[in-house]
Symmetry: C2
Subunit: 190 residues, 2 copies
Amino acid sequence: MQAKEILQAHIAKTISLTDEQFDYLFSHFKQRSFKKGQVIIAAGDKIDHEYFVLDGCLKSFYINDDLKMFILQFAMPTWWASDYNALYSQTKATINLDCITDAEVLCLSNDDREKLCNEIHQVEHFFRWRTNRGYVASQKRLLSFMNNDAKHRYEELLALYPALYNIVPKHLIAAYLGVSRETLSRLYHS
Amino acid sequence: MQAKEILQAHIAKTISLTDEQFDYLFSHFKQRSFKKGQVIIAAGDKIDHEYFVLDGCLKSFYINDDLKMFILQFAMPTWWASDYNALYSQTKATINLDCITDAEVLCLSNDDREKLCNEIHQVEHFFRWRTNRGYVASQKRLLSFMNNDAKHRYEELLALYPALYNIVPKHLIAAYLGVSRETLSRLYHS
DNA sequence: TTTTAAATGTGATGTAGGTCACGTAAGTTC
DNA sequence: GAACTTACGTGACCTACATCACATTTAAAA
């Protein structure tokens, strides 16, 4: 499936656009290919785009002062990723974004998103709902963090995204769950 | 300050509405008074409103199977609160909302919000930005959970909302930080 | 004012998960 | 295919925080 069709199918789940409107919308996206391991956003960057995943798997993550990595999101096809704090507030990135596998993405600049939201009411509606879902998911994950132990969170993650288990190295899954790789290893060998 | 002025000042930070538009918007809100301890949303409820705090302090929280409480949010004046998962997905509430102090709130139904977002593009813009901020805040809190110990999170909370310390009982602060009340007590006595 | 309930402090003890150390296996690169 | 790097497993030990138990202080209710 082509980039255009993938995006169209994704957006059609939330809003209806005419073909002309969608063509206009799509004309603001730029397609890019990345290799496994390639960095899309590095902490400290000035940042002005968000990314829609067509193929492959990205990760967004934070590195603390002890160089420990915490993964915020695994971005699979039809997911959006960026450092939204930096993007919305026009500050430098504190979150990194890179490629776990080779990846195809569509890039949309912050300015273009805001322009499109302003020009096409339905597009603003789409982005409101996208963020709604992200917000709810983030709250759920926060609750799971407070409520459940590592084993429970691990099983939750696998139930939600079985594909991850085969694509993503275990130490990254540990960094998502917020446990050490040693602890994760012990969890699923018992 | 009157309810109308409080809401108007709050909304004006993000969008510009004509007086007629704002009057129309405001006509969809219903003002209600609650007493300390009163429940606004109980888990299991069918739920169709969100709440804008004019005065007082609310808490939204989850109770797990062991009857342990986890606080998602302390809602202070000009904050919005609800069980957004239940509200958006039209399912029964899993989150509770009640009053830490006597409170004045404005109620907006889910249907009216969607109607207003549809009728007035700027209103949709407002709600998109409100959720953006919520999403970013939620991600920051998630990161802090993974990255920092309880003492660090406690100091972070006090730095961000100094007012809480005097208004909110310590065991509720513990339930927000995700530690036991005993641990919290030990943290600030050393 | 008395009674009752809620909030808080503090010791003793248990445990999930971290850290360090060192091993093997499996991909990558030359 | 050898050399090197990255991923993964597992034991020994440590630490932050939970839990339980009980005392005390404060606030609400009668």
